[in-house]
Protein backbone atom coordinates (compact mmCIF):
# COMPACT_ATOMS: atom_id res chain seq x y z
CA UNK A 1 0.00 0.00 0.00
CA UNK A 2 1.53 3.30 -1.09
CA UNK A 3 1.43 6.29 1.26
CA UNK A 4 -1.47 8.71 1.31
CA UNK A 5 0.91 11.46 0.19
CA UNK A 6 1.18 9.80 -3.22
CA UNK A 7 -2.59 9.69 -3.51
CA UNK A 8 -2.75 13.37 -2.56
CA UNK A 9 -0.47 14.14 -5.49
CA UNK A 10 -2.49 11.97 -7.86
CA UNK A 11 -5.70 13.73 -6.83
CA UNK A 12 -4.15 16.92 -8.23
CA UNK A 13 -2.89 15.14 -11.32
CA UNK A 14 -6.27 13.54 -12.13
CA UNK A 15 -7.32 16.84 -13.66
CA UNK A 16 -9.86 19.50 -12.87
CA UNK A 17 -12.44 18.34 -15.43
CA UNK A 18 -13.59 15.17 -13.63
CA UNK A 19 -13.45 16.96 -10.27
CA UNK A 20 -15.18 20.24 -11.15
CA UNK A 21 -17.36 18.83 -13.95
CA UNK A 22 -19.95 16.96 -11.84
CA UNK A 23 -20.74 19.76 -9.36
CA UNK A 24 -20.74 22.40 -12.12
CA UNK A 25 -23.06 20.44 -14.41
CA UNK A 26 -25.31 19.35 -11.54
CA UNK A 27 -25.46 22.91 -10.24
CA UNK A 28 -26.28 24.30 -13.68
CA UNK A 29 -29.02 21.71 -14.14
CA UNK A 30 -30.62 22.52 -10.79
CA UNK A 31 -30.52 26.25 -11.52
CA UNK A 32 -32.01 25.81 -15.02
CA UNK A 33 -34.80 23.53 -13.83
CA UNK A 34 -35.34 25.19 -10.44
CA UNK A 35 -38.93 26.05 -11.28
CA UNK A 36 -39.77 22.69 -12.79
CA UNK A 37 -38.85 19.41 -11.04
CA UNK A 38 -35.20 20.05 -10.14
CA UNK A 39 -35.07 16.82 -8.10
CA UNK A 40 -36.31 14.72 -10.99
CA UNK A 41 -33.66 16.25 -13.21
CA UNK A 42 -31.02 15.71 -10.55
CA UNK A 43 -31.87 12.02 -10.63
CA UNK A 44 -31.58 12.07 -14.43
CA UNK A 45 -28.16 13.67 -13.95
CA UNK A 46 -27.03 10.60 -12.02
CA UNK A 47 -27.39 8.47 -15.13
CA UNK A 48 -26.47 11.07 -17.75
CA UNK A 49 -24.06 13.59 -16.28
CA UNK A 50 -21.85 11.55 -13.99
CA UNK A 51 -20.95 8.87 -16.55
CA UNK A 52 -20.15 11.64 -19.05
CA UNK A 53 -17.72 13.39 -16.69
CA UNK A 54 -16.14 10.06 -15.72
CA UNK A 55 -15.77 9.02 -19.37
CA UNK A 56 -14.26 12.33 -20.47
CA UNK A 57 -11.97 12.38 -17.43
CA UNK A 58 -10.70 8.88 -18.15
CA UNK A 59 -10.25 9.68 -21.85
CA UNK A 60 -7.96 12.60 -20.97
CA UNK A 61 -5.69 10.64 -18.61
CA UNK A 62 -3.23 9.20 -21.10
CA UNK A 63 -1.23 11.34 -23.46
CA UNK A 64 -1.29 14.69 -21.70
CA UNK A 65 1.31 14.27 -18.94
CA UNK A 66 3.92 17.02 -19.31
CA UNK A 67 6.41 14.96 -17.30
CA UNK A 68 5.81 11.71 -19.21
CA UNK A 69 9.49 11.20 -20.13
CA UNK A 70 10.46 11.46 -16.48
CA UNK A 71 7.55 9.29 -15.35
CA UNK A 72 8.69 6.45 -17.60
CA UNK A 73 12.10 6.37 -15.88
CA UNK A 74 10.61 5.99 -12.39
CA UNK A 75 10.60 2.72 -10.43
CA UNK A 76 6.84 3.22 -10.02
CA UNK A 77 5.33 1.98 -13.29
CA UNK A 78 3.54 4.70 -15.21
CA UNK A 79 0.57 2.39 -15.69
CA UNK A 80 0.13 2.24 -11.89
CA UNK A 81 0.22 6.02 -11.82
CA UNK A 82 -2.50 6.25 -14.50
CA UNK A 83 -4.59 3.68 -12.62
CA UNK A 84 -4.28 5.70 -9.43
CA UNK A 85 -5.54 8.77 -11.28
CA UNK A 86 -8.42 6.71 -12.69
CA UNK A 87 -9.24 5.52 -9.19
CA UNK A 88 -9.37 9.16 -8.05
CA UNK A 89 -11.89 9.95 -10.81
CA UNK A 90 -13.96 6.88 -9.89
CA UNK A 91 -13.92 7.69 -6.18
CA UNK A 92 -14.91 11.32 -6.73
CA UNK A 93 -17.70 10.34 -9.14
CA UNK A 94 -18.98 7.86 -6.56
CA UNK A 95 -18.81 10.45 -3.80
CA UNK A 96 -20.81 12.98 -5.83
CA UNK A 97 -23.30 10.27 -6.79
CA UNK A 98 -23.82 9.18 -3.20
CA UNK A 99 -24.18 12.81 -2.11
CA UNK A 100 -26.81 13.45 -4.80
CA UNK A 101 -28.60 10.22 -3.85
CA UNK A 102 -28.64 11.34 -0.22
CA UNK A 103 -30.09 14.72 -1.19
CA UNK A 104 -32.77 13.02 -3.28
CA UNK A 105 -33.66 10.61 -0.46
CA UNK A 106 -33.84 13.33 2.16
CA UNK A 107 -35.84 15.65 -0.11
CA UNK A 108 -38.18 12.82 -1.09
CA UNK A 109 -37.00 13.01 -4.70
CA UNK A 110 -35.79 9.44 -5.11
CA UNK A 111 -38.03 7.61 -7.61
CA UNK A 112 -40.01 4.82 -5.97
CA UNK A 113 -39.34 2.22 -8.64
CA UNK A 114 -36.02 1.04 -7.15
CA UNK A 115 -34.62 1.08 -3.66
CA UNK A 116 -31.78 3.41 -2.80
CA UNK A 117 -29.21 0.58 -2.72
CA UNK A 118 -30.05 -1.22 -5.99
CA UNK A 119 -30.81 2.20 -7.43
CA UNK A 120 -27.13 3.11 -7.19
CA UNK A 121 -26.68 0.99 -10.32
CA UNK A 122 -28.37 3.91 -12.08
CA UNK A 123 -25.05 5.75 -12.17
CA UNK A 124 -22.60 2.99 -11.29
CA UNK A 125 -23.15 0.79 -14.36
CA UNK A 126 -23.02 3.52 -17.05
CA UNK A 127 -20.31 5.34 -15.10
CA UNK A 128 -18.07 2.28 -15.04
CA UNK A 129 -18.82 1.54 -18.69
CA UNK A 130 -18.14 5.01 -20.04
CA UNK A 131 -15.13 5.40 -17.71
CA UNK A 132 -13.67 2.13 -19.00
CA UNK A 133 -14.45 3.10 -22.58
CA UNK A 134 -12.77 6.48 -22.01
CA UNK A 135 -9.70 4.75 -20.58
CA UNK A 136 -9.55 2.42 -23.57
CA UNK A 137 -9.99 5.24 -26.10
CA UNK A 138 -7.43 7.42 -24.33
CA UNK A 139 -4.89 4.61 -23.97
CA UNK A 140 -5.36 3.52 -27.59
CA UNK A 141 -5.10 6.98 -29.14
CA UNK A 142 -2.94 8.84 -26.56
CA UNK A 143 -4.60 12.02 -27.80
CA UNK A 144 -6.99 13.37 -25.15
CA UNK A 145 -8.81 15.65 -27.62
CA UNK A 146 -9.58 12.79 -30.00
CA UNK A 147 -10.49 10.30 -27.27
CA UNK A 148 -12.75 12.87 -25.59
CA UNK A 149 -14.53 13.56 -28.88
CA UNK A 150 -15.23 9.87 -29.39
CA UNK A 151 -16.54 9.40 -25.84
CA UNK A 152 -18.71 12.52 -26.16
CA UNK A 153 -20.26 11.43 -29.46
CA UNK A 154 -20.92 7.91 -28.18
CA UNK A 155 -22.68 9.40 -25.16
CA UNK A 156 -24.75 11.66 -27.40
CA UNK A 157 -25.58 8.86 -29.84
CA UNK A 158 -26.85 6.66 -26.99
CA UNK A 159 -28.79 9.57 -25.58
CA UNK A 160 -30.49 10.59 -28.82
CA UNK A 161 -30.87 7.14 -30.41
CA UNK A 162 -32.18 5.59 -27.21
CA UNK A 163 -35.24 4.22 -28.98
CA UNK A 164 -33.13 2.29 -31.46
CA UNK A 165 -31.04 0.83 -28.64
CA UNK A 166 -34.13 -0.36 -26.81
CA UNK A 167 -35.40 -2.20 -29.89
CA UNK A 168 -32.32 -4.28 -30.57
CA UNK A 169 -31.60 -7.20 -28.23
CA UNK A 170 -27.82 -6.82 -27.97
CA UNK A 171 -27.81 -3.02 -28.02
CA UNK A 172 -30.50 -2.99 -25.36
CA UNK A 173 -28.13 -4.75 -22.96
CA UNK A 174 -25.44 -2.16 -23.67
CA UNK A 175 -27.71 0.86 -23.46
CA UNK A 176 -26.31 3.33 -20.94
CA UNK A 177 -29.51 5.15 -20.12
CA UNK A 178 -31.96 2.34 -19.47
CA UNK A 179 -33.16 3.85 -16.18
CA UNK A 180 -34.12 7.28 -17.42
CA UNK A 181 -35.41 6.05 -20.78
CA UNK A 182 -37.73 3.55 -19.17
CA UNK A 183 -36.42 0.01 -19.47
CA UNK A 184 -38.79 -2.69 -18.27
CA UNK A 185 -38.01 -3.58 -14.61
CA UNK A 186 -37.04 -7.17 -15.40
CA UNK A 187 -34.67 -6.01 -18.14
CA UNK A 188 -33.09 -3.25 -16.11
CA UNK A 189 -31.02 -5.49 -13.85
CA UNK A 190 -29.75 -7.51 -16.83
CA UNK A 191 -28.78 -4.29 -18.58
CA UNK A 192 -26.92 -2.99 -15.53
CA UNK A 193 -25.02 -6.24 -14.96
CA UNK A 194 -24.14 -6.49 -18.66
CA UNK A 195 -22.81 -2.95 -18.58
CA UNK A 196 -20.64 -3.73 -15.56
CA UNK A 197 -19.41 -6.98 -17.14
CA UNK A 198 -18.48 -5.33 -20.43
CA UNK A 199 -16.93 -2.40 -18.53
CA UNK A 200 -14.54 -4.91 -16.95
CA UNK A 201 -13.55 -6.13 -20.44
CA UNK A 202 -13.11 -2.57 -21.75
CA UNK A 203 -11.18 -1.61 -18.63
CA UNK A 204 -8.89 -4.62 -19.05
CA UNK A 205 -8.20 -3.51 -22.62
CA UNK A 206 -7.46 0.00 -21.40
CA UNK A 207 -5.20 -1.37 -18.67
CA UNK A 208 -3.24 -3.43 -21.20
CA UNK A 209 -2.82 -0.53 -23.60
CA UNK A 210 -1.87 1.92 -20.87
CA UNK A 211 1.17 -0.22 -20.14
CA UNK A 212 2.75 0.71 -23.44
CA UNK A 213 6.28 1.97 -23.27
CA UNK A 214 7.53 5.51 -23.77
CA UNK A 215 8.76 4.37 -27.17
CA UNK A 216 5.27 3.37 -28.29
CA UNK A 217 3.88 6.50 -26.69
CA UNK A 218 6.27 8.79 -28.51
CA UNK A 219 6.15 7.14 -31.93
Amino acid sequence: MRPLALWRHEIRRAGRAPVLGPPLLAGALVVITWADHPLRNLFVFLELGLPLTAGLGAAALAGRDPAAELQFTMPTAYRSTLMRRLAVIAAWTALVAVAISAVLLVADGWPGTRGPVAGQLTWLAPGLWLGAFGLLAGAALRIPAAASGIVAVLWLVEQLFGGAFQQHFVMKQLFLFATTQGAAPEEWAVNRLTLIGTAVVLGAGGWLLSGRSYQEESE
Binding site: R2, P3, A5, H9, R12, A67, E69, L70, P75, T76
Partner: protein, 285 residues
Protein backbone atom coordinates in the same frame (compact mmCIF):
# COMPACT_ATOMS: atom_id res chain seq x y z
CA UNK B 1 28.39 0.64 -12.25
CA UNK B 2 29.83 -0.26 -15.62
CA UNK B 3 27.94 0.09 -18.91
CA UNK B 4 28.67 -2.24 -21.82
CA UNK B 5 27.21 -1.37 -25.20
CA UNK B 6 27.74 -3.78 -28.06
CA UNK B 7 26.82 -3.13 -31.71
CA UNK B 8 23.86 -1.00 -30.66
CA UNK B 9 21.53 0.08 -33.44
CA UNK B 10 18.43 2.22 -33.26
CA UNK B 11 16.29 2.85 -36.28
CA UNK B 12 13.16 4.98 -35.91
CA UNK B 13 9.96 4.58 -37.88
CA UNK B 14 10.49 6.35 -41.16
CA UNK B 15 13.93 4.86 -41.59
CA UNK B 16 16.07 7.37 -39.67
CA UNK B 17 19.08 5.58 -38.17
CA UNK B 18 20.02 7.31 -34.92
CA UNK B 19 22.58 4.74 -33.75
CA UNK B 20 24.49 2.57 -36.16
CA UNK B 21 26.32 -0.39 -34.61
CA UNK B 22 27.71 1.54 -31.65
CA UNK B 23 30.03 -0.33 -29.28
CA UNK B 24 31.22 1.44 -26.15
CA UNK B 25 32.29 0.60 -22.62
CA UNK B 26 31.63 3.19 -19.91
CA UNK B 27 33.47 2.66 -16.61
CA UNK B 28 32.38 3.74 -13.15
CA UNK B 29 32.98 7.44 -12.59
CA UNK B 30 32.37 10.52 -14.69
CA UNK B 31 32.16 9.97 -18.42
CA UNK B 32 31.52 12.56 -21.12
CA UNK B 33 29.58 12.08 -24.30
CA UNK B 34 30.20 14.67 -26.97
CA UNK B 35 28.67 15.13 -30.37
CA UNK B 36 26.88 17.55 -32.59
CA UNK B 37 23.09 17.87 -32.50
CA UNK B 38 21.65 14.79 -34.17
CA UNK B 39 24.72 12.65 -33.47
CA UNK B 40 22.62 10.14 -31.50
CA UNK B 41 23.48 11.19 -27.94
CA UNK B 42 19.89 11.61 -26.75
CA UNK B 43 18.83 8.33 -28.34
CA UNK B 44 21.67 6.55 -26.53
CA UNK B 45 20.71 8.23 -23.26
CA UNK B 46 17.08 7.20 -23.69
CA UNK B 47 18.03 3.60 -24.42
CA UNK B 48 20.21 3.52 -21.31
CA UNK B 49 17.36 5.01 -19.26
CA UNK B 50 15.03 2.29 -20.52
CA UNK B 51 12.83 4.70 -22.45
CA UNK B 52 13.59 3.34 -25.90
CA UNK B 53 14.23 -0.18 -27.05
CA UNK B 54 17.13 -0.74 -29.41
CA UNK B 55 16.60 -2.16 -32.89
CA UNK B 56 19.67 -4.35 -32.50
CA UNK B 57 22.70 -5.01 -30.32
CA UNK B 58 22.99 -5.33 -26.57
CA UNK B 59 23.26 -2.97 -23.63
CA UNK B 60 24.19 -3.99 -20.09
CA UNK B 61 24.04 -1.58 -17.18
CA UNK B 62 25.85 -3.29 -14.31
CA UNK B 63 24.28 -6.74 -14.16
CA UNK B 64 21.15 -5.69 -15.98
CA UNK B 65 20.29 -6.22 -19.62
CA UNK B 66 18.26 -3.16 -20.60
CA UNK B 67 16.88 -4.87 -23.69
CA UNK B 68 14.65 -6.91 -21.34
CA UNK B 69 11.67 -5.63 -19.35
CA UNK B 70 13.13 -6.94 -16.09
CA UNK B 71 16.47 -5.32 -16.86
CA UNK B 72 14.86 -1.95 -17.54
CA UNK B 73 12.85 -2.17 -14.30
CA UNK B 74 16.04 -2.95 -12.37
CA UNK B 75 17.90 -0.02 -13.94
CA UNK B 76 15.05 2.35 -13.05
CA UNK B 77 15.62 1.55 -9.37
CA UNK B 78 19.21 2.85 -9.46
CA UNK B 79 18.77 5.59 -12.03
CA UNK B 80 18.77 9.36 -11.79
CA UNK B 81 17.78 10.83 -15.15
CA UNK B 82 17.68 14.38 -16.38
CA UNK B 83 16.07 14.57 -19.82
CA UNK B 84 17.05 17.18 -22.36
CA UNK B 85 13.55 18.70 -22.24
CA UNK B 86 12.31 18.37 -18.69
CA UNK B 87 8.53 18.54 -18.44
CA UNK B 88 7.22 19.54 -15.02
CA UNK B 89 3.82 20.10 -13.45
CA UNK B 90 3.50 23.90 -13.47
CA UNK B 91 0.85 23.97 -10.75
CA UNK B 92 3.24 22.38 -8.23
CA UNK B 93 5.93 24.13 -6.22
CA UNK B 94 9.48 22.82 -6.51
CA UNK B 95 9.17 21.19 -3.09
CA UNK B 96 5.88 19.50 -4.02
CA UNK B 97 7.28 18.32 -7.35
CA UNK B 98 10.34 16.83 -5.68
CA UNK B 99 8.16 15.25 -3.00
CA UNK B 100 6.08 13.62 -5.75
CA UNK B 101 9.14 12.36 -7.62
CA UNK B 102 10.58 11.01 -4.36
CA UNK B 103 7.38 9.05 -3.81
CA UNK B 104 7.53 7.70 -7.36
CA UNK B 105 11.12 6.66 -6.62
CA UNK B 106 9.87 4.67 -3.67
CA UNK B 107 10.87 6.95 -0.78
CA UNK B 108 7.68 6.29 1.14
CA UNK B 109 8.84 7.39 4.58
CA UNK B 110 7.76 10.98 5.12
CA UNK B 111 10.69 12.03 7.30
CA UNK B 112 13.22 10.50 4.93
CA UNK B 113 11.49 12.13 1.98
CA UNK B 114 11.56 15.56 3.59
CA UNK B 115 15.21 15.16 4.44
CA UNK B 116 16.15 14.09 0.91
CA UNK B 117 14.09 16.84 -0.72
CA UNK B 118 15.63 19.42 1.60
CA UNK B 119 19.13 18.14 0.79
CA UNK B 120 18.74 18.26 -2.98
CA UNK B 121 17.13 21.70 -2.79
CA UNK B 122 20.19 22.91 -0.90
CA UNK B 123 22.49 21.28 -3.44
CA UNK B 124 20.87 23.12 -6.34
CA UNK B 125 20.48 26.32 -4.29
CA UNK B 126 16.71 26.44 -4.57
CA UNK B 127 15.78 26.13 -0.90
CA UNK B 128 14.71 29.79 -0.78
CA UNK B 129 12.38 29.45 -3.78
CA UNK B 130 11.11 25.95 -3.08
CA UNK B 131 7.62 27.14 -2.18
CA UNK B 132 7.05 28.96 -5.47
CA UNK B 133 5.07 27.32 -8.25
CA UNK B 134 7.14 25.93 -11.10
CA UNK B 135 5.20 27.91 -13.68
CA UNK B 136 6.92 31.02 -12.32
CA UNK B 137 10.43 29.54 -12.60
CA UNK B 138 12.98 30.67 -15.17
CA UNK B 139 14.51 28.15 -17.57
CA UNK B 140 17.66 27.90 -15.44
CA UNK B 141 15.68 27.34 -12.25
CA UNK B 142 13.67 24.58 -13.90
CA UNK B 143 16.91 23.00 -15.01
CA UNK B 144 18.07 23.02 -11.40
CA UNK B 145 14.82 21.36 -10.33
CA UNK B 146 15.55 18.73 -12.96
CA UNK B 147 18.99 18.17 -11.52
CA UNK B 148 17.54 17.98 -8.01
CA UNK B 149 15.02 15.29 -8.95
CA UNK B 150 17.75 13.24 -10.61
CA UNK B 151 19.71 13.26 -7.37
CA UNK B 152 16.82 12.06 -5.19
CA UNK B 153 17.09 8.48 -3.92
CA UNK B 154 20.89 8.41 -4.28
CA UNK B 155 21.20 7.05 -7.81
CA UNK B 156 24.09 4.73 -8.69
CA UNK B 157 23.74 5.69 -12.33
CA UNK B 158 23.22 9.31 -13.23
CA UNK B 159 22.32 10.10 -16.82
CA UNK B 160 22.23 13.79 -17.56
CA UNK B 161 21.38 15.10 -21.00
CA UNK B 162 22.58 18.66 -21.62
CA UNK B 163 22.42 19.46 -17.89
CA UNK B 164 23.97 22.91 -18.06
CA UNK B 165 21.89 24.28 -20.92
CA UNK B 166 20.18 27.44 -19.70
CA UNK B 167 22.29 27.82 -16.57
CA UNK B 168 24.24 31.02 -15.95
CA UNK B 169 28.08 30.72 -15.84
CA UNK B 170 28.25 30.53 -12.05
CA UNK B 171 25.50 27.89 -11.87
CA UNK B 172 27.16 25.94 -14.65
CA UNK B 173 30.48 25.78 -12.87
CA UNK B 174 28.82 24.88 -9.58
CA UNK B 175 26.75 22.17 -11.14
CA UNK B 176 29.48 20.49 -13.14
CA UNK B 177 31.67 20.49 -10.03
CA UNK B 178 28.83 18.84 -8.17
CA UNK B 179 28.51 16.16 -10.84
CA UNK B 180 32.21 15.45 -10.68
CA UNK B 181 31.99 15.14 -6.88
CA UNK B 182 29.06 12.74 -7.15
CA UNK B 183 30.98 10.46 -9.45
CA UNK B 184 32.87 8.45 -6.89
CA UNK B 185 31.50 4.95 -6.92
CA UNK B 186 28.72 6.07 -9.24
CA UNK B 187 28.59 6.26 -12.99
CA UNK B 188 27.75 9.73 -14.23
CA UNK B 189 27.11 9.93 -17.93
CA UNK B 190 27.24 13.52 -19.08
CA UNK B 191 25.93 14.18 -22.55
CA UNK B 192 26.56 17.64 -23.89
CA UNK B 193 27.69 19.71 -26.79
CA UNK B 194 29.43 22.16 -24.44
CA UNK B 195 32.99 20.89 -24.75
CA UNK B 196 34.23 22.88 -21.78
CA UNK B 197 31.87 21.02 -19.41
CA UNK B 198 33.54 17.75 -20.37
CA UNK B 199 37.03 19.28 -20.26
CA UNK B 200 36.49 20.45 -16.69
CA UNK B 201 34.90 17.32 -15.26
CA UNK B 202 35.70 14.14 -17.17
CA UNK B 203 38.83 12.10 -17.53
CA UNK B 204 37.38 9.91 -20.23
CA UNK B 205 34.92 10.62 -23.00
CA UNK B 206 33.42 9.38 -26.22
CA UNK B 207 32.49 11.34 -29.34
CA UNK B 208 29.55 10.35 -31.52
CA UNK B 209 28.93 11.45 -35.08
CA UNK B 210 26.01 10.27 -37.23
CA UNK B 211 25.15 7.54 -34.75
CA UNK B 212 28.63 6.00 -34.69
CA UNK B 213 31.55 6.17 -32.28
CA UNK B 214 34.37 8.30 -33.69
CA UNK B 215 36.47 8.60 -30.54
CA UNK B 216 36.85 6.86 -27.19
CA UNK B 217 39.67 7.86 -24.86
CA UNK B 218 40.91 10.42 -22.39
CA UNK B 219 40.56 14.18 -22.54
CA UNK B 220 44.32 14.44 -23.13
CA UNK B 221 44.17 12.01 -26.04
CA UNK B 222 41.40 13.96 -27.74
CA UNK B 223 43.22 17.24 -27.08
CA UNK B 224 46.39 15.83 -28.63
CA UNK B 225 44.50 15.24 -31.88
CA UNK B 226 44.96 18.96 -32.46
CA UNK B 227 48.68 19.09 -31.64
CA UNK B 228 50.48 21.26 -34.20
CA UNK B 229 47.12 21.99 -35.85
CA UNK B 230 46.00 25.01 -33.82
CA UNK B 231 47.09 28.35 -35.20
CA UNK B 232 46.95 31.94 -34.06
CA UNK B 233 46.65 34.46 -36.89
CA UNK B 234 46.66 38.24 -36.42
CA UNK B 235 45.49 40.13 -39.47
CA UNK B 236 43.74 43.33 -40.52
CA UNK B 237 42.68 41.69 -43.75
CA UNK B 238 40.11 39.02 -44.53
CA UNK B 239 39.66 36.03 -42.23
CA UNK B 240 41.76 32.95 -43.01
CA UNK B 241 39.88 30.54 -45.26
CA UNK B 242 41.76 27.31 -44.61
CA UNK B 243 40.61 25.26 -41.59
CA UNK B 244 38.02 25.98 -38.90
CA UNK B 245 37.97 29.31 -37.08
CA UNK B 246 37.53 28.62 -33.36
CA UNK B 247 37.52 32.23 -32.19
CA UNK B 248 37.92 35.77 -33.48
CA UNK B 249 39.01 38.43 -30.99
CA UNK B 250 39.57 42.13 -31.81
CA UNK B 251 43.28 43.04 -31.61
CA UNK B 252 45.26 46.29 -31.90
CA UNK B 253 46.50 45.13 -35.28
CA UNK B 254 43.13 43.94 -36.57
CA UNK B 255 41.68 40.58 -35.49
CA UNK B 256 43.27 37.61 -33.79
CA UNK B 257 41.94 34.34 -35.15
CA UNK B 258 42.33 30.92 -33.57
CA UNK B 259 42.19 28.36 -36.35
CA UNK B 260 42.28 24.57 -36.41
CA UNK B 261 43.90 23.50 -39.66
CA UNK B 262 46.31 20.75 -40.77
CA UNK B 263 48.64 23.33 -42.33
CA UNK B 264 49.28 27.01 -41.69
CA UNK B 265 46.11 28.85 -42.73
CA UNK B 266 47.81 32.19 -43.42
CA UNK B 267 51.19 33.86 -43.63
CA UNK B 268 52.58 34.62 -40.18
CA UNK B 269 50.40 32.06 -38.41
CA UNK B 270 51.89 30.60 -35.23
CA UNK B 271 51.06 27.29 -33.61
CA UNK B 272 49.56 27.44 -30.11
CA UNK B 273 48.73 24.91 -27.37
CA UNK B 274 45.55 23.00 -28.19
CA UNK B 275 42.63 22.52 -25.81
CA UNK B 276 39.81 19.96 -25.82
CA UNK B 277 37.63 22.08 -28.08
CA UNK B 278 40.41 22.19 -30.66
CA UNK B 279 40.85 18.43 -30.38
CA UNK B 280 37.13 17.90 -30.88
CA UNK B 281 37.08 20.14 -33.95
CA UNK B 282 40.18 18.46 -35.36
CA UNK B 283 38.38 15.14 -34.97
CA UNK B 284 34.99 15.97 -36.42
CA UNK B 285 35.89 18.48 -39.14
Amino acid sequence: MRIDIDRLTKRYRGGVTALDGLSLEVPTGMFGLLGANGAGKTTLMRILAGLLRPTGGSVRVGEHDVTTRAGRAAVRRVLGYLPQELGVYPDLSAREFLDYVALLKGIDDRTERRRRVGEVLEIVALAGDAGRKLKGYSGGMRRRVGIAQALLAGPRLLIVDEPTAGLDPEERIRFRTLLAQLAGDRTVLLSTHIVDDVAQTCRELAVLASGALVFRGTVEELTSRASDRVWSVITAGPAPTGGTIVSAVPHAAGMRYRVVAPVSPAAGAETVEPNLEDGYLALVK
